[in-house]
Amino acid sequence: MAFQIFAYILHKDGAVDDTAGEMVAAAKKIDPAASITAIVVGSKIDSVCNSLTASFKEVWKIDNDALSYPNSEVIRGLLAGIIPKGNILLVPHDHFGMDLSPGLSVKLDGAYLPDAIDFDGVDGGKLKAVRQEFSGQVSTHVLCDISGGAVITTRPGSFAAEAGAAGGSVVDKTADALAGGMPGGKRRFVEVIEAEMGDVDITKSDILVSIGRGIGEQENIEITEELAKAMGGDLSCSRPIIDAKWLEKSRQVGTSGKTVKPKVYMALGISGSFQHLGGIKGSPFMVAINKNPNAPIFQIADIGIVEDLLEFVPVLTEKINESK
């Protein structure tokens, strides 16, 4: 095909992120014959670049002390200067990709396809992709005109990581990228503030009773606390509970909260958005209680119960206590 595919590589503390292999898989779904170029931006990134040559034909390195923290306003300017128009750039759809990519598509004059979870071939210059809307309640097929190039973000975890062709080489693009000076001075990084420690560490819990917006009101949390107590587990939650300030931030499960790996996960009134599910690792035994039979959580859970949680949970708690 007439375009080249680039993949933006996330890395931290010298380690390549899992999304690198996922983008290899994604690129192959767009074009099975694609030779994929990795782009790595940072400071002191030789070992990261070298490790990527095992999977990418070419690895573009942009290495400068001033790039030690990934400020997307800076990186957007650098990429706009070196990625030839008319090509495809894949970026993981996380907090960095969401920051970088929409504006980059404008700068590169290409299409923008956000949060793709699958691809279904290219036909007549149009890429067919799968997306989700309404936090995963429905899926859609979309057509993206890639004839003038595109920036595409791919949802982390949606593509099964693959290794690409080995034997690639590193190309130092630092001088090219910085030819016009360091861009993006209007947004200056100051610091990262670490997450606060809470009263319980849900990342260590074997049993989590997790509540979502379906709990309805703050007073109702009590019945789920009682369930957690009966089960010998801890209470965690989805994001709307934190936004409402009903529980401490340290109890939030998800991409912008904690990553948990319990043995048993009870999802009560949680719809099952990818940002929530992204925080659950290790395939726990998952029970979902939701009054909507079409809630996406039922596709992931092991056991589904279609009930009003406010009615169901007290009965469950009582039975557990009786059975002890």
Binding site: R76, M98, K107, A111, P114, F134, V264, N294, I305, E311
Partner: protein
């Protein structure tokens, strides 16, 4: 500080179960309850709080049909000073870039120090804010969960990044920020508040008022278009327990015991 907030009218997922219609051409729209996009409501609250602290004005703008007037009015009842509706048949079928082009044309008619959008809307794209910033050549930050406005040249912002961490930066004004939920606690709007602004005039502008032609907006200019809707298949699917509540509870207690779910 003069602040513009872009808002979108969307089906309210807290009030509706969203499902695909029988032909897959759309979601089932009968009986849908609409409201302002959740993220935008936080953005408007933030704008009002900033204005109340440092002075200035809050304008809310929506691209949509005449029904979007309702959400503009709702946010005006919250405290926004002014609403603008951008509406034209020519806007239909616009993709993210088309929407940003329309908003940019309106922004060019005014002078704003701060432009806010939601982090994302109903289709989960999260694109309009970043595109708008790039088109206006303004600095941008997404997923903002803290704003400290002290100065009229620059502000301090926090972005939500992974694992509950917060990235603090300084950003020059004017700028475009996309707002994440949880940044504040949006105030409640009662019927009375909405009644108060019921007769306030909301100007409506179309393509020609904004100097836009079909090369950059609408379905013809869209590079991304939706083909159909379908119901996702994510995993193998849960085993759904059947029976009365008592029967389900009994089964579940047994299962939990066998899986180590009861200590």
């Amino acid at each position: 500080m003069d602040i513009l907030v872009c808002i979108k009218r969307v089906p309210d997922t807290a009030e509706n179960e969203i499902s695909v219609n029988s032909s897959g051409s759309d979601i089932e729209r009968d009986d849908l309850v609409y409201s302002v996009n959740e993220w935008d409501n936080y953005a408007v609250e933030e704008a009002i709080q900033i204005r109340d602290k440092v002075g200035g004005s809050v304008t809310v703008v929506a691209v949509g049909d005449s029904e979007s007037e309702d959400v503009l009015r709702r946010e005006m009842a919250m405290g926004a000073d002014k609403g603008i509706l951008l509406s034209d048949d020519a806007f239909e079928g616009s993709d993210g870039k088309g929407l940003a082009t329309i908003l940019k044309a309106e922004i060019a008619k005014g002078k704003y120090d701060l432009i806010l959008t939601g982090a994302q809307a109903d289709d989960g794209a999260g694109q309009v804010g970043g595109m708008l910033a790039a088109m206006l050549d303004l600095p941008f930050a997404s997923l903002v969960n803290l704003i400290e406005a002290s100065d009229d040249k620059k502000i301090k912002i926090g972005r939500e990044i992974a694992g509950g961490q917060q990235e603090i930066s300084e950003i020059d004004l004017p700028c475009v920020l996309s707002i994440q939920t949880g940044i504040n606690e949006p105030r409640y709007v009662g019927i009375r508040g909405i009644r108060k602004v019921a007769s306030v005039e909301i100007p409506v502008r179309g393509a020609s008022d904004l100097g836009l032609n079909q090369d950059s907006i609408g379905a013809a200019a869209a590079k991304v278009s939706r083909v159909d809707y379908f119901t996702p298949v994510l995993g193998k699917g849960a085993e759904i327990l059947e029976g009365s509540i008592d029967e389900k509870v009994d089964k579940l207690v047994e299962l939990l015991k066998s899986k180590g779910g009861i200590k």
